[in-house]
C-alpha cells in the first residue's frame, strides 16, 4: 500500500440548514459524502441524518436545522474532491414521508468559512397519471441512490423539478496542501483555531 503523504483535512460544520420550502414543514435531512477513489475519511461520520425541524414562527418561515457535521478526509489526489449530497425528506399531506429535494455541492476548496446555498430538486414522474398516483400513494419517484446527484453519468435520462434551497455553512481547514503543491487560497495558517463560535440566524 502506498504511503499516504498528505492530508487534506476538511472540517466542515453544517451550522444550519436554512431550507425554504413554501409549504413544507417538519423536514429532516440526510447527508452523505461522495468522493473519489483516492480519498478516505479519517474521522467523523460520512453519512448521517438530521433531526426533524419545523418552520420558524417569524416572518421568514425558514426551516433551521443547525445540524453540525464534522468530517475529516485525507487524500493523495485532488481528483474526486468530496461532495456533500443532501436529501431532504418530510411528510406529505397524507403523512407519508416523501423526498423533498436532492442537492449536492463540492466541499469548498479553500480553507475558511464558506456559505453555500444549494438549489434542491426532485425527480419528476414520467407521466401525469403516475404523478397523480405517486402523490396519492405517497410514493414519489426517488433516486435509487442519492449519490447519483453528485455525478453526471446517467442523469440525462431523468427529469427533475427544483424546489427550495438549503444553505450550508462550511468551516474548512486544510493541511499540507501548499506543501504538496496545491495552492487553494489563503496561506495555511498554523493552528487554525477550530470553527468559530456558533452563530445565530443569518441576516
Amino acid at each position: 500500500m502506498s504511503k499516504l503523504c498528505w492530508t487534506c483535512l476538511s472540517r466542515l460544520f453544517l451550522k444550519y440548514y436554512d431550507y425554504i420550502f413554501p409549504e413544507y414543514d417538519d423536514l429532516y435531512c440526510k447527508y452523505c459524502f461522495v468522493y473519489g477513489q483516492d480519498w478516505a475519511p479519517t474521522a467523523g461520520l460520512e453519512e448521517g441524518i438530521s433531526q426533524i425541524t419545523s418552520k420558524s414562527q417569524d416572518a421568514r418561515r425558514a426551516l433551521v436545522w443547525n445540524f453540525p457535521i464534522d468530517v475529516t478526509f485525507k487524500s493523495t489526489n485532488p481528483y474526486g474532491w468530496p461532495q456533500i449530497v443532501l436529501s431532504v425528506y418530510g411528510p406529505d399531506v397524507f403523512g407519508n414521508d416523501v423526498v423533498r429535494g436532492y442537492g449536492a455541492v463540492h466541499v469548498p476548496l479553500s480553507p475558511g468559512r464558506h456559505k453555500k446555498t444549494i438549489p434542491m430538486f426532485v425527480p419528476e414522474s414520467t407521466s401525469k397519471l403516475q404523478k397523480f398516483t405517486s402523490w396519492f400513494m405517497g410514493r414519489r419517484p426517488e433516486y435509487t441512490d442519492p449519490k447519483v446527484v453528485a455525478q453526471g453519468e446517467g442523469r440525462e435520462v431523468t427529469r427533475v423539478r427544483s424546489q427550495g434551497f438549503v444553505t450550508l455553512l462550511f468551516n474548512v481547514v486544510t493541511k499540507d496542501m501548499r506543501k504538496l503543491g496545491y495552492d487553494t487560497g489563503p496561506p495555511d495558517t498554523q493552528g487554525v483555531s477550530g470553527p468559530s463560535p456558533p452563530q445565530g440566524l443569518p441576516r
Binding site: M1, W39, A40, P123, S125, T133, S134, T144, T158
Partner: protein, 1557 residues
C-alpha cells in the same frame, strides 16, 4: 407683526444684493443659513398662530378695494425674494422682455383674484363676517374664527399650497423677530396682504413639502411656474456673472440653489451658430460625382483593363449616389488613393452571385422522384465474430473497384418515333445547342474584345496619352490590328451562326406546328415560345451605325494598307519592268507595239515578277462606297436589324399530349407498341459481361431511367468498358441495339467526384413499322408527296458516370499504374492542357505551369481560376500546403507536458489506466502522490498480460489445444467485458429513479385484496429479503450463511470379511451418488451388518475463502444436522460494487467426511484408565458451489428482430406476472454479445459415430453414453468467465471447440444429440440444487419422461425424488417455448404434456405463428479422433505432477508410494471407465485379495479434463495427504480416456494404505 416687517427687511436686503456685486453675496450667506434652519421648524408652528393668521384673510377677500394694492405688493414681493430686479444692465434679457412678463403677470393676477371673488360670492354665510374690517379682529369671537377657518378650508381647494406657505411664513416671522424694524415700512395690513399673496415667489423654495402634501393647486402652480421662469433665469445669469469668485459660489451653491435658482430654461443657440459649430464637427460627404483625375495619382490616365481584353467580371451593383458618397468620403478621409483601381473606380471584386442556381435539376416526372427517394433494402450480413480473434485476414491484394453509375438513357431517335417526335428531337437538339451557345455568348465576348482592341489601338495611336508604352506602340498596334481583323471575322461568323440557329429553330417549330395541325393530335409536350425583347430603337440604330462605320473605317484602312503594299510592289515591278523594257526596247525595238498591249491584260492580275515581265498595272484605289456596300450587306445578313426586337426562344414541356381516345388508330398502335418495349443495359468489362441493369419499360418520352450503380470488383486494368443496349419487344427475344464504349476513368476520378456524362450511341438496325412510328434506317418523308426523304438511324444517349471507388481507409481502389497500358497521346495542342501534356502531366506542376505560360491563359478568367491557383502554389515553391488538416488544433496548447513525459510518469500512467477502467487498476485506491512512491511491480501484472496476449502459454495447460482455447476464451471475455463496460454507462430511467408503476386493475385489485388479508397468517410465506444497497459496506459486514440440514444415503463403511477394521470407501462423490438410478443404492441398507453398528459418522465441512467451518458429527447414513454455519465474506479489494462481487471466483466447498476413531492404544493394560484414539477423517464427497451462483444478476442486451423481441418482452411480462419465481427464458446472448432467440440453438446434431457404434442394439445405453460424453466436456460457468456481465450461450460447435461451457451449453448439445437420435427432447430450464438456475434435458421415452443432467450425464425418472432438478419453469423445443403455468413446478408434480395449453403456455401460437427462425447451429458437427498417444503422455504427466504435489503437501513426513498397489489401480481404472458402476464389487474383492494385510482407504476421482489445476485441487480436497500415521503408504493412479474431439475423461485413484499389524 414684527415678523412681517422682518420679511420685508429681508426683501430690502435682497434688493440691495441685486444691485451689488458678488461681495454682497457673501454677506447674504450667513443670513440664509439660519433661515434654512428656521424652515425646518415649520411643523412646530402653533395652532394659536394659525388662528391669528386666519383673521387677516378677510382683508384679502375684498379684491375690489384692496386689489390693486395687493397686486402691487404681491408683485414686488414675488420678485423680492428672488432678488432679481430686471433693471441692472448686466441682465441679458432686455427690458422689453421684462415688461412683457410684467404684463402677463398682472393679467394673471387679475384673473386669479377675479376667480377668487367669484368663488367667495358663491358662499353666502361667511361673507358678512369677512366683510368686517380687520380692526375688529381683536374682538372676534371663537365662533367667528371657526367660521373663518371653515372658509379657509373651502378655499384650500384652490389655495392649499398657499395655506401651507402662510403657515411657513408665520413661523419665519415669529422667529425672525430679532432684527429691529426699520421705520417707514408698510403697515401691518399691507404686509399681511403681501404675505398672504406671497405664495407665488416661493413654490420652488418649499417645493418638496407642499407637493407631497397636496397637489390640488397644480393648475395654478403651472401658471406660476410659467410666470416665474424669467426671474429664475435672471438669477442664474446673475450667478453666472459671479464667476470670479467660484469658491464662494460653490460654497453657497446649496442654498443659493434652493433660494434663488429654481427652474432654468433650455439653453438656446441660434440655428446659425449651431450650423456653424456643426460644420466644424461634422462632415457630410458630397453626392456629386468625383472627377476621375482626383482619384488617380497625378498625371496618370485611367486604364481600363476590360478594354485591354482582360477579364474583369461584373461588379456588384451599387447605386451611383452611394458610390459617389463613398468616393468622396474616402478621398477626404484617406488622401492615399489605395482604394481606387487603375480605372479610377473603387476596387471591387466581381459579383460572386451566380446567375443560375447550382441546385441539381429535379426531374419533373413524378415517378422519377419516387424512384430517387425509394429506400433500398440491403440484406444484413452477419458479422463473423470469431475470425476477429482466431484468423486475421487482410484484404487480398489486387482488389480494386470501379463504380459505374448508369442513370438513364434517352433516345434521340427510335423506330417508334412518330414524325412529330422526329421534329421534337430535332427541336430539342437545336434548342440545347442554342442554350449552350447562349451560355457561352461568344458573339458578345468577341464584340467586347473587338471594342477593347479598338480603343487600345486608338490609345496607342495617341501617344500623348500613354507615354509609358511609347516604345512598344508600333509593334503592339500592328498586333492589335491583326487581332482586330481576326476577331471581327470570328465575331461575324458567330453572329451568323447564332442567327441561322435561331432561324432553324423557328423553322422546325413551324414545321412541327403544321404537322400537329395536319395530323390533328399532339404527341409531344414540347412547346416553343418566342419572347420578344424590345430594344431602344434609337440607341440601337446608333450602335449599329457606329459599328458599321467602325468596320468600314477599319476595312478602309486595311484596304488602304493593302493598296499601299500593292502600290509598293507595283512600283518595284514597274521599275523592273521599265528596266527590262529598256533593255527590251534596246533589243527589240520593233516589237514595241506588241509589248504595249500586254500590260493591259496584266493590270487585272496581281502584279508580280513574271517570267516574262509585263508591265504592271497600278492597283485599284480603295473605294469607300464599295466597302460600305459590302459591310452593310454582310451586316444585314448576319446581324439583327436595328430596332428589331431580340427573339428569345423558350422551349417548355408545357404542352399537352392528346389522349389516346382522340388519336387515330395508327397512332394508338404506336403508343401501344412503345408500352410493349423495355430496355436494359449490359455492362461488359474487358468483353465479359459482368452485370446488367434491370429491364425498364420505355417511356412515352423515350427516356429510360435506370439509376443503378454497379461496383465492379476487378483485378486487372480495364481494357475496355462497354454498355450494351438491349431492347425487348413484348415477350419476344431481345435485340442488341447498340454498344456504348465508356472511357476508362483517369486515376484522379474517384467516386463522388465523377460528373454524369452523356455518351451517344447509334444503331444500324433497320426497322419498318406498320403504325405511325417512322422506323429506323428506312426513308420517310414529312411531305404528302413523299419527297424530301429522310433516313434516320436509331440513336440515343446514355448518361452515366464511371469512377474509381474509394476504400474504407479513404484510398482509392485503383490498380497501380504499372498495370495500365499507357496509350498513345495526341500531338501537342495548345488549347487543351490535358491533351498537350498528358494526364500524368497534370500532376507535374512544372509542366503545367509551362504550358499555362505558353498558352497565355487569361489569369483573371474564373474558369481558369483553380488552375492558376494550383500553378501559383506549385511554382512558388515557398508556400507549403499541407496535404492534411488537423483535428483539435488547439490540443497542443493544453498539453502541459509532452506525451513522452506523461507516459514516463508512473503516477499519470496509473491515473490514466484507472480512468480507462483497466481491470487491474479499476479499483485502485489512493494512488500515491509522488512517482517515487509507486512500486514498479504495480504494473507488472498488467504488462505481463499485455505481453502474453498473443503468446500461447502451454506450461499451465500441458495440452496445446486447451491452451489455445483458454487464450481465446480470455479474448472473448475481454471483448465482451469491454462491450458491457460501455453498456454499463448507458442508464435507463429505472436505473436511476425508483418510481411506482402505473397501477393497473390487477395491482389495484391485489392491493384491495391485501386489505382483507390476515395480518398474521397461520402459514406465513417467506418474504424476500430486502436488498441491501452496497453503499457503506466494509469487510466483515457480509456473511455467508450455509444451512446444513441433512444428508441422505451416505455410503457406509463396509467391513471386510476377515478383519474387524472397517474400510471406508466411496466410489462416488456426493453428487454422483444421486446419479445412479435409485435401485443401485439399495445395497447400502442391506441387513448384512449388525444392527446398531455405527457404520458412518459423517460431518460436513464448509470452506470458503480459506475459512473452514464444520458441523458436529452425526451418526448413520442419513444424518440430520440442521446447523447454520457462518462464514465471513471479503470482497476483492474491499470493493462491494455489483460488478466486483460478480467477479468473485471463489467457490464454496461443502465436503462431507467420515470421522473414524482409531484406538491407538497399543497396550491393553491401560484400557481401563484411558482411551487414546486417533481421529481420522475420510473424505466422502464434495459439493462445489461457485459464489457466482449465490450472487447472480443477469443483464441482457437486445438485437433480434424487433417484432420478435416485442413478443418476447410481452411473453416474459405475462409469465412474470403470474409466476414471478419462474424464470422465463426466451432470448439469450451469443458469443458476440447479441441477443438470439433461444430456439435457434436447438437443432438435431449428430453425435460422434464412435459412440453410436458402441452399443448398436441398445438405444438406452447409447443415450447414456452420449450423455456421458457431453458430461465429459469441462464445466465453466459463464458468470465466472464473463464476470458480472451476462450469461453467454455458445453454439454447439463453438462449445466443442472451446471444450468449456456451463449447463446451458451442455444441455443444448445433449438435447441436439437426442434430437438427432430420434428422441423427443426438450431443454428444461429451472432450478436445481447445486447449480441454481440451470438447464436440463427432458426426453420422452415410450411411456415416461427422463430428466438428464447434462453436466454429470446422469438421468432420473420423472418421479425420482433424488432428481436434483427441483423446479421446472420452461420447456424449449426447436420450434417453440412452453412456459409452465401449472400450480406446481416440481417435476414430481407436473405434467410434461406440452400439448395442453392449460398447463403449458406456448410462445408461438396461432396468434403468433412460428416464423421459421434459422438455426445458429452448424449443419453438422465434425469429429476427429483424439490422439491416443498424446492422451497416454498426458496421463503420465498428470500422474507425475500429482505425486509431486502430494509429496509437497506432506513436508514433515515421508511419503512412500506403494508401487504394487499403484499398478493394480492403474489396471483397474480403465475398467471403471468402461463400465462405470458395475465393477465395484469385483474391484473391491480383488483389492482385498491383493492387499491382504493393508488397511486400504481410497477412492477413484473422476472428472472431465480441462487443465491440471482442478485435478490438483480435487486431490487436495480429499485430504488424503493429511493422514499422518507413521507407516502410511500411498497409491496414485491416473487414467486418461480419450473421446472424440479431444474430450478427455480423467480418472484418478488415490489411496492410502496402512499396514495392519
Amino acid at each position: 407683526m414684527k415678523s412681517k416687517e422682518e420679511k420685508v427687511k429681508i426683501i430690502s436686503e435682497e434688493f440691495i444684493d441685486d444691485g451689488e456685486d458678488a461681495e454682497e453675496e457673501r454677506q447674504k450667506k450667513p443670513l440664509k443659513i439660519p433661515r434654512q434652519k428656521r424652515k425646518k421648524q415649520l411643523p412646530t408652528a402653533s395652532r394659536e398662530e394659525m388662528v391669528l393668521e386666519n383673521s387677516p384673510v378677510d382683508d384679502q377677500q375684498e379684491p375690489v378695494q384692496k386689489g390693486p394694492d395687493t397686486r402691487l405688493l404681491g408683485m414686488t414681493s414675488r420678485r423680492g425674494p428672488r432678488s432679481l430686479p430686471p433693471i441692472p444692465s448686466a441682465s441679458r434679457t432686455g427690458f422689453a422682455e421684462f415688461s412683457m412678463r410684467e404684463r402677463m403677470r398682472e393679467k394673471l393676477q387679475a384673473a386669479r383674484s377675479k376667480a377668487e371673488s367669484a368663488l367667495l360670492q358663491e358662499i353666502p354665510t361667511p361673507r358678512p363676517r369677512r366683510l368686517r374690517s380687520p380692526t375688529e379682529k381683536e374682538s372676534e369671537t371663537e365662533f367667528g374664527t371657526e367660521l373663518d377657518r371653515e372658509v379657509q378650508r373651502t378655499q384650500q381647494d384652490h389655495d392649499s399650497q398657499g395655506h401651507s406657505r402662510v403657515k411657513f411664513h408665520d413661523s419665519v416671522r415669529k422667529i425672525k423677530s430679532k432684527p429691529p424694524v426699520p421705520p417707514g415700512f408698510p403697515s401691518a395690513e399691507e404686509a399681511y396682504n403681501f404675505f398672504t399673496f406671497n405664495f407665488d415667489p416661493e413654490p420652488e423654495e418649499s417645493e418638496e413639502k407642499p407637493k407631497a402634501k397636496n397637489r390640488h393647486g397644480a393648475n395654478r402652480e403651472e401658471k406660476e411656474g410659467e410666470e416665474e421662469e424669467p426671474p429664475v433665469q435672471e438669477g442664474d445669469e446673475e450667478e453666472w456673472l459671479d464667476g470670479k469668485d467660484v469658491e464662494d459660489l460653490l460654497l453657497g451653491l446649496d442654498h443659493t440653489a434652493e433660494d434663488f435658482v429654481a427652474v432654468r430654461p433650455a439653453d438656446y443657440q441660434s440655428v446659425h451658430v449651431r450650423l456653424q459649430k456643426e460644420k466644424e464637427l461634422l462632415f457630410v460627404p458630397s453626392r456629386r460625382t468625383v472627377p476621375t483625375y482626383k482619384k488617380l495619382p497625378e498625371n496618370v490616365q485611367p486604364r481600363y483593363l476590360e478594354d485591354e481584353g482582360l477579364y474583369i467580371g461584373a461588379r456588384p451593383e451599387v447605386p451611383r449616389t452611394n458610390q459617389n458618397i463613398m468616393e468622396n468620403r474616402l478621398l477626404t478621409q484617406e488622401p492615399g488613393r489605395r482604394w481606387f483601381g487603375d480605372d479610377g473606380r473603387i476596387l471591387a471584386l466581381p459579383n460572386p452571385i451566380k446567375p443560375v442556381p447550382s441546385r441539381p435539376p429535379m426531374l419533373t416526372q413524378e415517378q422519377d422522384i419516387k424512384a430517387e427517394l425509394e429506400t433500398l433494402y440491403k440484406k444484413a450480413v452477419k458479422y463473423i465474430h470469431r475470425s476477429q480473434h482466431l484468423i486475421g485476414s487482410g484484404d487480398a491484394p489486387g482488389n480494386f473497384q470501379l463504380d459505374i453509375d448508369i442513370s438513364g438513357l434517352i433516345f434521340t431517335h427510335h423506330p417508334c418515333f412518330s414524325r412529330e417526335h422526329v421534329l421534337a428531337a430535332k427541336l430539342a437538339q437545336l434548342y440545347d445547342q442554342y442554350l449552350a451557345r447562349r451560355q457561352r455568348n461568344k458573339a458578345k465576348f468577341l464584340t467586347d474584345k473587338l471594342h477593347a482592341l479598338r480603343s487600345a489601338v486608338q490609345m496607342g495611336l495617341n501617344p500623348a496619352k500613354t507615354p509609358k508604352t511609347l516604345e512598344t506602340t508600333p509593334k503592339t498596334i500592328n498586333e492589335y490590328k491583326s487581332e482586330i481583323r481576326q476577331t471581327r471575322k470570328l465575331r461575324d461568323a458567330e453572329q451568323e451562326k447564332d442567327r441561322t440557329l435561331l432561324k432553324t429553330i423557328i423553322k422546325v417549330w413551324k414545321e412541327m406546328k403544321s404537322l400537329r395541325e395536319f395530323q390533328r393530335f399532339t404527341n409531344t409536350p414540347l412547346k416553343l415560345v418566342l419572347r420578344k425583347e424590345k430594344v431602344d430603337q434609337k440607341a440601337d440604330e446608333e450602335a449599329y451605325e457606329a459599328e458599321i462605320q467602325a468596320e468600314i473605317n477599319e476595312l478602309l484602312e486595311e484596304h488602304t494598307e493593302e493598296y499601299e503594299q500593292r502600290m509598293e510592289v507595283y512600283r518595284v515591278t514597274l521599275q523592273q519592268w521599265k528596266a527590262w523594257k529598256k533593255a527590251q526596247r534596246a533589243k527589240k525595238k520593233k516589237k514595241k507595239q506588241e509589248a504595249e498591249e500586254h500590260p493591259a491584260d496584266e493590270e487585272r492580275e496581281e502584279p508580280g515578277p513574271g517570267e516574262e515581265p509585263e508591265k504592271p498595272a497600278p492597283p485599284e484605289p480603295v473605294d469607300r462606297a464599295v466597302i460600305e456596300q459590302q459591310v452593310r450587306e454582310r451586316a444585314a445578313q448576319s446581324r439583327r436589324r436595328p430596332g428589331e426586337p431580340t427573339l428569345v426562344p423558350e422551349l417548355s414541356l408545357a404542352g399537352s399530349v392528346t389522349p389516346n381516345d382522340q388519336c387515330p388508330r395508327v397512332e394508338v398502335m404506336r403508343r401501344e407498341d412503345i408500352k410493349r418495349r423495355s430496355l436494359f443495359l449490359k455492362v461488359t468489362f474487358n468483353n465479359k459481361e459482368v452485370s446488367r441493369t434491370e429491364s425498364r419499360p420505355l417511356g412515352a418520352d423515350f427516356r429510360v431511367h435506370f439509376g443503378q450503380i454497379f461496383n465492379l470488383q476487378i483485378f486487372n486494368w480495364p481494357e475496355s468498358l462497354t454498355l450494351q443496349v438491349y431492347e425487348t419487344v413484348g415477350h419476344s427475344g431481345t435485340t442488341l441495339l447498340a454498344e456504348v464504349f465508356l472511357p476508362i476513368p483517369e486515376t484522379t476520378v474517384v467516386s463522388g467526384r465523377a460528373p454524369i456524362e452523356e455518351v451517344e450511341f447509334s444503331s444500324n438496325q433497320h426497322v419498318t413499322l406498320d403504325h405511325e412510328g417512322v422506323g429506323s434506317g428506312v426513308p420517310f418523308s414529312f411531305e404528302a408527296d413523299g419527297g424530301n426523304q429522310l433516313i434516320l438511324m436509331t440513336s440515343g444517349k446514355v448518361s452515366n458516370s464511371v469512377a474509381w471507388a474509394i476504400g474504407e481507409n479513404g484510398i482509392p481502389l485503383i490498380p497501380p499504374l504499372s498495370q495500365q497500358n499507357i496509350g498513345f497521346r495526341s500531338a501537342l495542342k495548345r488549347a487543351d492542357a490535358i491533351s498537350s501534356i498528358g494526364t500524368s502531366g497534370l500532376t507535374d506542376m512544372k509542366k503545367l505551369a509551362k504550358w499555362a505560360a505558353e498558352s497565355k491563359l487569361d489569369p483573371n478568367d474564373p474558369s481558369n481560376g483553380p488552375l492558376m491557383q494550383l500553378i501559383s502554389v506549385a511554382t512558388s515553391g515557398e508556400s507549403y500546403i499541407p496535404d492534411f488538416f488537423r483535428l483539435e488544433q488547439l490540443q497542443q496548447e493544453f498539453n502541459f507536458v509532452s506525451d513522452e513525459e506523461l507516459n514516463r510518469s508512473k503516477r499519470f500512467r496509473l491515473l490514466l489506466l484507472r480512468s480507462q477502467e483497466v481491470p487491474e487498476f479499476r479499483h485502485y485506491k489512493q494512488i500515491p502522490l509522488y512517482d517515487r512512491e509507486i512500486m514498479e511491480k504495480v504494473f507488472q501484472d498488467y504488462e505481463k498480460r499485455l505481453r502474453d496476449r498473443n503468446v500461447i502459454e502451454t506450461k499451465d495447460h500441458i495440452d496445446t489445444h486447451r491452451a489455445t482455447v483458454a487464450k481465446y476464451l480470455q479474448q472473448v471475455r475481454e471483448s465482451v467485458i469491454n462491450r458491457f463496460l460501455i453498456a454499463k454507462h448507458h442508464f435507463l430511467l429505472s436505473d436511476l429513479v425508483v418510481e411506482e408503476e402505473v397501477p393497473n386493475i390487477s395491482i389495484l385489485g391485489l392491493s384491495l385484496f391485501k386489505l382483507a388479508e390476515q395480518k398474521r397468517p397461520l402459514r406465513p410465506r417467506r418474504k424476500g429479503r430486502k436488498k441491501v444497497t452496497a453503499q457503506n459496506l466494509s469487510d466483515g459486514d457480509i456473511k455467508l450463511l450455509v444451512n446444513i440440514i441433512r444428508a441422505y444415503d451416505i455410503p457406509v463403511r463396509k467391513p471386510t470379511a476377515s478383519k474387524f477394521h472397517q474400510t471406508s470407501r466411496s466410489s462416488r462423490t456426493f453428487t454422483e451418488k444421486h446419479a445412479a438410478s435409485p435401485t443401485t443404492h439399495s445395497p447400502a441398507h442391506s441387513a448384512d451388518y449388525p444392527l446398531g453398528q455405527v457404520l458412518v459418522r459423517p460431518f460436513v465441512e464448509v470452506s470458503f475463502q480459506r475459512t473452514i467451518c464444520h458441523t458436529t458429527t452425526a451418526e448413520g447414513p442419513n444424518p440430520s444436522w440442521n446447523e447454520e454455519l457462518e462464514l465471513p465474506f471479503r470482497a476483492p479489494n474491499g470493493d462491494y460494487s455489483t460488478g466486483s462481487l460478480q467477479s468473485v471466483k471463489d467457490d464454496v466447498f461443502i465436503n462431507i467426511f467420515d470421522e473414524v476413531l482409531y484406538d491407538v492404544l497399543e497396550d491393553d493394560r491401560e484400557r481401563g484408565s484411558g482411551i487414546h484414539t486417533r481421529i481420522e477423517r475420510h473424505w466422502l464427497g464434495c459439493v462445489k458451489i461457485p459464489f457466482s451462483t449465490i450472487y447472480f444478476q443477469a443483464r441482457f442486451d437486445s438485437q433480434e428482430d424487433e417484432k420478435l423481441l416485442q413478443a418476447t418482452e410481452k411473453f416474459r411480462a405475462e409469465c412474470a406476472l403470474k409466476f414471478p419465481n419462474r424464470q422465463c427464458l426466451t432470448t439469450v446472448v451469443d458469443v458476440s454479445g447479441k441477443t438470439v432467440f433461444v430456439t435457434r440453438y436447438l437443432k438435431p446434431l449428430n453425435p460422434p459415430q464412435e459412440l453410436l457404434d458402441a452399443y448398436p442394439n441398445n438405444p438406452q445405453a447409447t443415450a447414456e453414453l452420449v450423455a456421458r460424453y457431453v458430461s465429459l466436456i469441462p464445466f465453466l460457468p459463464d458468470t465466472v468467465s464473463f464476470a458480472g456481465v451476462c450469461d453467454l450461450w455458445s453454439t454447439s460447435d463453438q462449445f466443442l471447440d472451446l471444450l468449456a461451457g456451463d449447463e446451458e451449453e451442455h444441455a443444448v448439445l445433449l438435447c441436439n444429440y437426442f434430437l438427432s437420435m430420434g428422441k423427443k427432447a426438450w431443454l428444461v430450464t429451472g432450478n436445481a440444487i447445486p447449480e441454481g438456475p440451470t438447464a436440463y434435458v427432458l426426453t420422452r421415452e415410450q411411456s415416461h419422461y427422463l430428466i438428464w443432467n447434462p453436466c454429470s450425464g446422469h438421468f432420473y425418472g420423472q418421479f425420482d425424488t433424488f432428481c436434483p432438478l427441483k423446479s421446472v419453469s420452461c420447456l424449449i423445443g426447436p420450434d417453440n417455448i412452453w412456459f409452465n403455468i401449472q400450480q406446481y413446478d416440481s417435476p414430481l408434480r407436473i405434467n410434461f404434456d406440452v400439448t395442453k395449453p392449460k398447463l403449458w403456455k406456448s410462445f408461438f401460437s396461432r396468434s403468433l405463428p412460428y416464423p421459421g427462425l434459422s438455426s445458429v447451429q452448424p449443419e453438422e458437427l465434425i469429429y476427429q479422433r483424439t490422439d491416443k498417444v498424446a492422451a497416454a503422455e498426458l496421463q503420465d504427466r498428470i500422474e507425475k505432477i500429482l505425486k509431486e504435489k502430494i509429496m509437497d503437501w506432506r513436508p514433515r513426513h515421508l511419503t512412500r508410494w506403494n508401487r504394487y498397489c499403484t499398478s493394480m489401480l492403474r489396471h483397474f481404472l480403465p475398467l471403471l471407465e468402461r463400465n462405470q458402476e458395475d465393477v465395484e464389487d469385483d474391484h473391491r474383492a480383488e483389492l482385498l485379495k491383493q492387499l491382504g494385510d493393508y488397511r486400504f482407504s481410497g477412492f477413484p476421482l473422476h472428472m472431465p479434463y480441462s487443465e491440471v489445476k482442478p485435478l490438483i485441487e480435487a486431490v487436495y480436497s480429499t485430504g488424503v495427504h493429511n493422514i499422518d500415521a507413521p507407516n502410511v503408504e500411498f497409491a496414485l493412479a491416473v487414467y486418461v480416456h480419450p473421446y472424440p474431439r479431444n474430450v478427455l475423461s480423467v480418472w484418478i485413484y488415490v489411496a492410502s494404505l496402512i499396514r495392519n499389524r
